[in-house]
Amino acid sequence: MADNESIHRRRKLVSSLMTALTLLCAVFAIVILLIILSYIAVQGLSSISLQFLIDTPKPVGEGGGIGNAILGSFLMTALACLIGLPIGIGAGVYLAEFGDNWFAKTVRFLADTLIGIPSIIVGIFIYTLVVLPMGRQSGLAGGLALAIIMIPIVARTTEEMIRLVPHSMREGALALGAPQWRVTLDIVMPAASTGIATGAMLAIARISGETAPLLFTALNSRFYNYFMDQPMASLTVQIFNYATGPFDVEHKMAWAATLILVGLILLINILVRYLTRRKF
């Protein structure tokens, strides 16, 4: 039998080894992210100016910017949130609070499948359903495609977050004579609000980065466009166009637009975190 001391020494060694291993993985994950971010910043920063932020795209050599693309992205994301958040959160509440039946199980399974579907398929779906009958691509179609991508993500995270609310809290409210719907609305939802907001954030970040579904649905536009029934520019499609262009100036602008996109997502993230910070 080995003596106590050597066993202890071995345990300590294994423990430090494992700690170091997980630390290494964490550092690796962060470093990759930092490299990507700093590369984007280095490449993009030089082309960013106020003019770049408000101008529309121009022929190569005449400058041009991404003003209309920022506006388009904003409008379509807003439309997607307007449709996707209420439906997604509502579905998540149903799944968590009343979802113990075959219908809910089916919805859950389909939502998980939908999350895994390549987004271009959603684009084709909306293309057939909205673009063809309307006769043209539009911001509306783009927003709808993004909403469809958003709904299952929001629904599933909302469900998970609501499930985390301890059962004892619900019982406390029920014991006071609160009807089920008020328990959900007054107690469970506020308790899960931070988590629900994080889920919404993830979904917004995800759709802000989508290019494929917009190619079919919103197409692109060279002009400022405030009307949702017209083709609409977006940051991601604009980045795609600049990046696949033959000229170096365009590549520079693609980097700059990417930096702006990442910055905007970061900004929304911070804003939502601030608004839903834990008050209790």
Binding site: D100, P166, S168, M169, R170, E171, G172, A173, L174, A175, L176, G177, A178, P179, R182, D186, I187, P190, A191, K279, F280
Partner: protein, 252 residues
């Protein structure tokens, strides 16, 4: 002494498993009745049949009658929401809402629309906190988070919350089992104080606690009610051998 609750031939099933067997028990008004018994003997389950809290668990079945003021609460058409307002509950683990101290107490008043106006609401909150012996400790921080309170204070907040909706019966499921001796003593003093106005049923694992606070004690084992007697008698000369063995610590 009039009986507030009258339970007869109560059977309770979780799916196919029977948890309670033919329980008949009278609970007198404005007294403290303690339920004792080993873990898993069904005393919590029984307590939760008294305000139909078990209804939230899928697959349960109840047979028999639970009469409160002569009215069967398992009759079809019973308003469960109204029942739970009348029969309040305090849980083993304190479960304040993620709201301020004030809002925790005000919540029940608001949803049941008991208050007349804002001043009335504030008075009712103050009174409930006062009755739960918590007012002096929280009066300067009513609008801070309830999670900032200590464990014992949180439990008294839950008692205040239950009192605020003006119940007639208060069910307590091991309310002091997670608290230190000083906080436990406060809860016990409170129970003795509250029985002047409320009918109280308390589940406890602590035999001394049952002896200190209750007027009558019921001993449960394996889903059956073994014995009910005045607490004094129960702890000195119980009728049943089984009760004596349990109380003297020969098992359980």
């Amino acid at each position: 002494m009039q009986n507030k609750l009258s339970i007869s031939n109560l059977d309770f099933f979780y799916g196919k498993a029977q948890a309670l067997y033919e329980i008949s028990l009278e609970i007198p008004e404005r007294q403290v009745m303690a339920f004792i018994g080993p873990s898993g003997c069904g005393k919590s389950t029984f307590l939760r049949t008294l305000n139909r809290m078990n209804d939230t668990i899928p697959g349960i079945r109840v047979e028999g009658d639970v009469l409160i003021d002569g009215k069967n609460i398992y009759e079809s058409g019973t308003d469960v929401v109204a029942l739970r307002r009348k029969v309040g509950m305090v849980f083993q683990k304190s479960n304040p809402f993620p709201k301020t101290i004030f809002e925790n107490v005000a919540y029940g008043i608001r949803i049941n629309r008991i208050h007349k106006d804002k001043t009335d609401l504030e008075m009712r909150v103050e009174k409930a906190l006062y009755d739960a012996a918590l007012w002096d400790e929280v009066k300067d921080r009513l609008h801070t988070s309830a999670f900032g309170l200590s464990g014992g204070q949180q439990q008294r907040l839950c008692i205040a919350r239950a009192l605020a909706v003006q119940p007639e019966v208060i069910l307590m499921d091991e309310p002091a089992s997670a608290l230190d001796p000083i906080a436990t003593q406060k809860i016990e003093e409170l129970v003795v104080e509250l029985k002047k106005r409320y009918t109280i049923v308390i589940v406890t694992h602590n035999m001394q606690q049952a002896a200190r606070v209750s007027d009558k004690t019921a001993f449960f084992m394996l889903g059956k009610l073994v014995e009910v007697n005045p607490t004094q008698k129960m702890f000195t000369s119980p009728d049943e051998k089984l009760t004596e063995d349990y109380i003297t610590g020969r098992f359980g």
